[in-house]
């Protein structure tokens, strides 16, 4: 074994507010794993880190913003996307990433998601889907599988979950991928692609919540979930999103489903205003404070 003069730093640490580590996430929680992938993607995508802003809503995943040593915003429950919209529109030079939970983005925040996708604003939306509202103690989410137990569906969930990739595509997203926390390399690659793409990108990450989802549903610990993902996932890049509904009883379809081009909000806006106003249009790349 080589004598190690310099032990390199864990590559994720440069992105962490180390004074806040250890974080609050439970043993075997997948959120930290997703953060590792994100760190790798930041490196690989070569984005200017001083121009990256992370916006989270509220929830276990919502705490991501607070751990990342980037300009980071922990907003209100469900409203990360409109906050991010303001950030991006006021300073189009920023690379704005929304990193939040399934409940935050798709229960209370669902409307903002579909509207931002429709507008095709340059945002990267990373959703850690643990199939539950974790932070508040394990209530049913719009992603909870039918018949799963939760604290507010003590006899089993009776609402079908969203097919998030299909919803994203129908609303207008230009990049849509799903991975589990088992798929660390693929996830990191998708994150990198999303960071380097113009338009609205959405990445769903199926992730273990041993404490509040799995325990109640007798699904073991984080590692059990990871093994389950490994065993039950099928990579189907380009699969029609209508065929990828998440169903805990059959294969988990993962992959990059959508990667298309549509005019972006900022592009269309500039085009439209320049066309109508010509020289008079005072296009701004970055709004200064007056």
């Amino acid at each position: 074994m080589a004598e190690l003069e310099v032990i390199p730093e864990n590559p994720v640490e440069q992105f962490l507010r180390m004074e806040r580590i250890p974080h609050i996430w439970c043993a075997g929680c997948g959120i930290g794993t997703s953060v590792n992938c994100f760190a790798r993607a930041l490196i690989e995508s070569k984005v200017d880190l001083d121009k990256v802003a992370i916006v989270s809503g509220i929830g276990c995943t919502g705490r991501v913003a607070g751990y990342l040593k980037l300009d980071s915003f922990h907003t209100t429950h469900g409203r990360a996307i409109p906050f991010a919209t303001g950030l991006k529109l006021a300073n189009p030079k920023l690379k704005v990433i929304v990193y939040s939970g399934d409940g935050d983005l798709f229960a209370i925040g669902g409307n903002h998601f579909i509207h931002a996708a429709r507008r095709n604003l340059d945002l990267v939306i990373i959703c850690v889907n643990n199939l539950i509202y974790a932070m508040t103690g394990g209530q049913v989410a719009p992603t909870t599988p039918i018949s799963a137990l939760s604290s507010t569906t003590p006899y089993g969930c009776y609402e079908p979950p969203f097919n998030l990739p299909q919803l994203a595509e129908a609303a207008g997203a230009t990049y849509v991928a799903r991975w589990t926390t088992f798929h660390v390399r693929q996830l990191a690659r998708s994150m990198k692609e999303a960071l380097n793409k113009e338009g609205f990108s959405f990445i769903e990450i199926i992730s273990p919540c041993p404490t509040l989802y799995q325990r109640r549903n007798r699904m073991g610990d984080g590692l059990d979930a990871m093994k389950f993902y490994k065993q039950r996932s099928k990579i189907r890049n380009g699969a029609p999103t209508s065929e990828v509904a998440f169903d805990i009883n059959s294969d988990i379809i993962v992959g990059k489903f959508v990667d298309r081009t549509r005019p972006t909000l900022l592009g269309t806006m500039h085009h439209q205003l320049r066309e109508r106003l010509g020289e008079k249009y005072a296009c701004v790349e970055e709004v200064a404070c007056h």
Binding site: M1, A2, E3, L4, E5, V6, I7, P8, N10, P11, V12, E13, L16, I21, P22, H23, W25, C26, A27, G28, C29, G30, I31, G32, T33, V35, N36, C37, R40, T181, F182, V184, R185, A188, R189, D221, G222, L223, M226, K227
Partner: protein, 84 residues
């Protein structure tokens, strides 16, 4: 000789076992000892097998472990791609 090496920050570990399970070359095992938080951290059982692929690092939810490649000149670096 090992192509890579791995660092473990025992006190951060929560013993989830991800690194042990998903190390492609089975370099690691969970220790039977506890860290001060009461978790069993991993330790290196087969150092010579470590490729430095850093999959352990990517999996670890607690930023408690990471691997790196040992470059020919003996200093850590990123001299090879390792995409699966």
């Amino acid at each position: 000789m090992a192509k890579g090496s791995v660092s473990i920050i025992v006190e951060r570990c929560k013993g989830c076992g991800f690194c042990v399970e998903f190390c492609p070359t089975k370099v690691l095992a969970l220790s039977s000892a506890f860290n001060s938080k009461g978790y069993h951290p991993p330790y290196v059982v087969a150092p010579e097998k470590c490729s430095g692929c850093d999959l352990c690092g990517m999996y670890c939810p607690d930023f408690a472990i990471y691997g790196w490649k040992i470059p020919s000149n003996g200093k850590p670096g990123e001299d090879s791609e390792d995409e699966e």
